[in-house]
Amino acid sequence: MFGFGDKTNSLTMNEPVPESLLDTGAQGVISRPLDRVDGPLKVSGTATYAAEYAVPGLVHGVLVGAKIGHGKVLAIDVEAAKRVPGVIDVVVDFDTFIRNAQQGGEEGAPTQGVKQVDYFGQIVAIVLADTYEAAREAALSLPVEYEYKAGTYDFEAHKDEAETPPRGLIPPHYSQGDPDTTYDAAPVKLDVTYVTPSQNSAAMEPHASIAMWEDDALTLYGAYQMPTSDASQLAKSLGVSVSKVRIISRYIGGGFGSKLGIAPESVAAAVAAKQLGRPVKAVMMRQQVFEATPRRSNTEQRIRLGCDADGRIVSFVHDSLVANLPGESFFEPVGIGSHSLYCGENRRINHDMVRLNLGLTGSMRAPGEAVGMVGVECAIDELAEQMGMDPIELRRINDPLKDPEKDVPFSSRMLTRALDEGARRFGWNQRNATPGSRREGEWLVGIGVAAATRNNQLQKSSAKIELKPDGTAVVSSAMTDIGTGSYTIMAQIAAEVLGLPVERIVMKLGDTNDPPAAGSGGSWGAASAGSAVYLAAEALREQLAKAMEVDPGDLTLKDGEAIGGNRRRSIAELVGDGMEATGEIVPGKQEKQFTQASYGAHFAEVGVNVVTGEVRVRRMLGVFAAGRVLNAKTARSQCLGGMTFGIGCALTEDLIHDPRNGKLVNRDLAEYHVPVNADVPQLEVHFLDERDIHANPIHAKGIGELGISGAAPAVVNAIYNACGVRVRNLPVTCDKLLAGLPAL
């Protein structure tokens, strides 16, 4: 598909790659905790984000959200908007505007057409003005006439109408053996239901696009995680050839899944720019980010675990209800981790969908595991207590040697080691299994544990490296850095293989004019684009060997010099007029022949205020095994961020819709509570040394979502240990604990 001709070093992962140049490289930069190469730009405010490009003749656009939950737009009073000084026009294109964002990686357009309103806040028009303020004034007071229809807004009221969604990353329904009969017959049984609320990624940077047309070609500065597929989505939405759409996303101020696919502001800006013949900027207001970008579905998870007297699970049932808009195929894959986390010959992992007129649900950091692990890992904690067994021991007993559903081994798996290592580091043996037995002043103190797992993915990606005559290398790819450290680890990979100091690597990411890549999502970015960079560098290494007239195996590259055949020459000299190569990684049979996932263990200590029920996390530890750690500092930061998300999931984040009309109630950062610094104590991260030769040639697995997967249930389990109140309805806010606390 990519078609790079002879100079592409393409690898399909059909076989393991036991040898990696990252292990034999002489430069010694891989895995080192280097500061971010883009750090100085960011802290000095000189990294240009999508909304910040100074484009001559720029028109400011502000989006207009529907003020009904379901119905139809009858009329928009464009003239009223034009009476606001500075307003140029209102662009209304009912057919082309997109109803909602697209999911990540899709090639096609998202659902289009906005005359019919399917959720409160659906973008129906864009007001254009000379200034942002004028556009906002007119947009907020734009008279829109609606026809109201009855909508479905209440999850509880419509649960009975749940339907089977189409297949996603996993099948919606899976069953093996006889889970019901074996459950009924099991000597030990647990049947619990956990509820998790809807959440929003709430990235610091709002969704933003600047659209510019030159003849029939569109350039869009966007805040997008996956420019390659986003360009395809945008082209399809606009009815133009993908070759005519260029997306540039150099820096992204957080995505967490909400910027995987194109969002309504991109199409609105592009349509408006075309109509007006001028570049148009559209930045979502914070309230619009909450209303009109993907949210994580709320979930209701019924977990039934049947086990024998020794704790071996014989029946594992995880039935989930999730929600999405009518016509949308994505379902929150709540049970994705359940498929391979624990033993159990008899299994059922089901997902059913409640159709609601609430904003689109889609991927948010670790779709599936982030909330699915809440149900499973809290249930395991409950089962262990019921059996009088240590919860780590129960997990150890049920740690499978091979995939419990497919007859294949794990590519690498360190779940029990992570639990044991974490227990040792955290002081798990200090835990009193009797809840409420440790009190310090007004605080009831408890500790909890949960397993971490996140499926590992590889996505087709490519990258180019040019070796310049001055001995520098330019690495380019449509990969992105959404704040994760991609710029830095890609530079480290190139530097290690090419034997160049990192300072001599010039990184270019986030431009669809560069080789296509899968971008940042699903924790696949480092492994996928990183492998592409690795393969390009490997090809260049062979060219250098050829120029040195040595076998590549006899070549050592270090500090800009090539050593081999008893000769030492500078790489700059060998490069001549310049060399270039493209690398391409393609997923292959290895992901069928091995179940691939990263693993870990979360430990949390919390205090529950005995007077008020306020919960404060006191310390957390995450022990993770995710293959090769490419940069110890950025990897740790990813885990810290994930664990912080976990604290939010456990304690504060709760996106609330008014069941009367589908209106999002808390749509700003004052009332949608993400954790603040004071909520996040000292977090500790420890990596286990691991290489995964089945995953990719750099032996790394995904890390960006591992830190959240399991973090929340560790906190929730710690709350139970602290005060003896099991809250099965997240987030665990003080009101839910109050009734269970001791009398004063």
Partner: protein, 327 residues
Amino acid sequence: MKLFTYERAASADAAVAEGAAPGTKFIAGGTNLLDLMKLQIETPERLVDISRLPLNTIDEREDGGLTIGALVPNSDLAADPRVIERYEVLSRALLAGASGQLRNKASTGGNLLQRTRCYYFYDTAMPCNKRAPGSGCSAIDGYNRILAVLGTSDKCIATHPSDMAVAMRALDATVVTQKADGDRRRIAIGDLYRLPGDTPEVETVLEPGELITAIELPVPVEGARHLYRKVRDRASYAFALVSVAGVVTMDGDTVASAALAFGGLGPMPWRDPAVEAAIVGKPASDASFAAAADALLANAKGFGSNDFKIPLARRTLIASLRELTGV
């Protein structure tokens, strides 16, 4: 944000003269007003900027009290050594509110006049009697977790969001104003606010153009223990679900004096003499603390998702009184 004119007041006299005109608002720190204007919840036609008026000092009065200029930033007030030493509850309340950046910008006078954080007040797509009188209250039958259980009406159940004002109420602060005609008046903080009743859009007794110029704190209570306890959904940067400001003196085991004010419960910083009467002159005990909680919550009414505030307030008050009295 609707188009507005902006002018800078050269003096307090000039400010009040300008401020009386219809559609005019004063702006100082702007930490609340600008947010509300951006969302078209407040749509003033004219802003009179008072931020450069010389009302930014904290002065000791001859009677031993403190006069705080209305433009003293919250962070300066919280850090003033005299405030920390003599009015600890005020410093603690200030530091429990907002964030460092907001406190640097927010003024003392403006803090008193913050508007409610009711979700529906903040959303112009929804009916709200406070924002659009007569349109109805979306919160009473809606999601009202953060809203009031005391002093509500069938028109409005909004809470007042300030922490500082709760401490000021416990301290019996006096609000000094200058009216449009130049007259000055002194308003006890308990008289500044109005209950919603049928007119929730009217929140204070201030007249058009009336400018808060200072807040006077009375002579500090000698030998008092101070407390500000704030219960919230996250450790910082969240409005109070319930807060208690307390200034208590003891005579042996007997409560000699008590001033108790509450945040998060009502449409104004709440103070009820019956609560104090339940403990003053009596030995400090859980029995009298329970009686105080009974008095506070006798007329409390929940609206569904805020029902928990009633037991939460009870527990928080009792624990606060234990701390204040050393029982």
